[in-house]
Each structure stands twice: as structure tokens, then as C-alpha cells.
């Protein structure tokens, strides 16, 4: 049952990832990316990471992809046709390097064996939820990275606002 689910969701994720990379219109790319994100959230649930699956749906599929959609609509990119790289052999070199990367990584990934650490506490699953274990680790052992992550988000907000601000109000005061 799990195996069937893994293969189905895996096939959907790989197919939509290929659609993201190969289709021409940006709207199609964004929509297939959303499908990929949702498929990945399904895989996370299969892997007993329920909190991360929900965060993936809320943050990635719900916020980051919507941001992409907003930018596409704001810049009116559907009217603009981006001609893809006219040099065909350059594209096939790109595909060749990607396949080469996969062939180099695959032997290591195929035979990897790992030990157990024991902090996931899967056997206590109904009483202690994944969210609680994650929260406990995040607020005790990993408190400093957590605070730094919030500062990083603040910097990103300020950076995005400053970068996207129009300069037209400056021109009006200097006229």
C-alpha cells in the first residue's frame, strides 16, 4: 500500500517537475510547480513528517507560488514571448550535464545505509505528536538558529520592499 502510494506520488512529482522545466508559458510552469509541491507534501506525510507537510503546503504552495503568480501577473509576462536559447546544441549540452550529474550521484545514493539516532520517537506516535517533538527541539536545542531565522526573514522583508519601491516620488520632490 505504501509502496503503491510512493510510486504514484513519485511519478506525479517527477512528471510535473519535467513540465516545470520544459513548458514555455510561465503560468503553466507555476501551476505544475504547485502540483509538485503538493505531491512532495504527500511524500512528507508518507515519511511521518506531518508538521513539515503542512508547512510545505502553507508556505511553499500557498505563499511562494502565489508570489510567483503575482510577479507574472504584475509584469504581464504572458504577453511577452521569451525566445528560448536558439542554439540547440547548447541545450543538449545542458541536458547532457544534468544526466551526467545524475549518473555520478546515483551509485552513492543507491547503496547508502544509515544507523539510527532515536530522537524521532515514532513508537510513541499517538501520545507525542510530531509537532510537539519538533517544537521541543526547536525551542531548546535549536533556539539560536530559530531566532536568527526570524532576523533573516526581517532582512528579506526589508530588502524586498526597498528593492521593489518605485523611484517616482524622488523625481517629484526634486522637480
Amino acid at each position: 500500500m505504501e509502496l503503491a502510494l510512493f510510486y504514484i506520488i513519485g511519478a506525479v512529482v517527477v512528471a510535473s517537475a519535467l513540465c516545470v522545466v520544459f513548458l514555455e508559458r510561465p503560468i503553466h510552469n507555476v501551476l505544475f510547480m504547485i502540483v509538485t509541491m503538493i505531491g512532495l507534501a504527500g511524500l512528507f506525510i508518507l515519511l511521518r513528517a506531518e508538521f513539515i507537510a503542512m508547512v510545505q503546503l502553507i508556505v511553499y504552495a500557498g505563499a511562494v507560488m502565489v508570489l510567483f503568480l503575482f510577479v507574472i501577473m504584475l509584469l504581464n509576462l504572458e504577453q511577452i514571448r521569451i525566445p528560448e536559447d536558439p542554439s540547440v546544441y547548447r541545450r543538449w549540452i545542458g541536458v547532457g550535464f544534468a544526466v551526467l550529474l545524475l549518473l555520478v550521484v546515483l551509485p552513492f545514493v543507491w547503496v547508502l545505509k544509515v544507523g539510527k539516532v532515536g530522537t524521532l520517537m515514532l513508537d510513541k506516535a499517538p501520545e507525542i505528536s510530531n509537532t510537539e517533538i519538533l517544537g521541543r527541539e526547536l525551542f531548546t536545542t535549536y533556539l539560536l538558529p530559530f531566532e536568527i531565522a526570524s532576523v533573516l526573514l526581517l532582512a528579506a522583508i526589508i530588502g524586498a520592499v526597498v528593492l521593489a519601491k518605485r523611484r517616482s516620488d524622488e523625481k517629484m520632490t526634486h522637480s
Binding site: 510552469n29 509541491m37 511524500l43 545542458g94
Partner: protein, 100 residues
Amino acid sequence: MITLNHYLVLAAVLFTIGVGGVMFRRNLIVILMSLELMLNSVNLTFIALARYMESIEGQVIVLFVMVVAAAEVAVGLAIAVMVFRQKGSINVDDVSLMRW
């Protein structure tokens, strides 16, 4: 029986597709999306390892990777909007100032 290696191979395939997208697409938005695909494949690797090593640290790292990815997308898209305003195009070939 799904082993760890099934998930790692899937993550490697997704990562490769993302790398291919970054390398041979000219549209800046699609390049950013392929970057997100690569980050998602890394998330899948971490979660799979967290499950099979029974370690919660894998999921903690994934949370931080998601934070960094969200911040990077916000700033990256702001830069893309600025580039579009300056050059009128988000084709990366048009914003190249290199000689060749």
C-alpha cells in the same frame, strides 16, 4: 518495502531536473522556480533521512531550509521586477554585460 534509497533516488532525480532547468532556461522566473525545485529535493532528502535514521534533527533543518528559500524567493523576485523595469525583459541573455 520502501527503503531509504527509493526516496534518495527520487530526490536525486528531482535535483537533476532542477539543475537542468537552471542551466538551460532563459526566463528568469523559470530559473528561480527550478532553484526552488532543487531546494525541495534537498528537503525531501532530509525528511527521508530523518525518517530512516529516526532523528528529528532532519526535520528541524528542513524548517530552516524553507525559511531561507522563502526569503530568497522574495528578494529574488524583487530583483527580477527591478531588472524588468530597467531592461524591459526578463530574458537573462539581455541582462548579460559580459563580452562573450
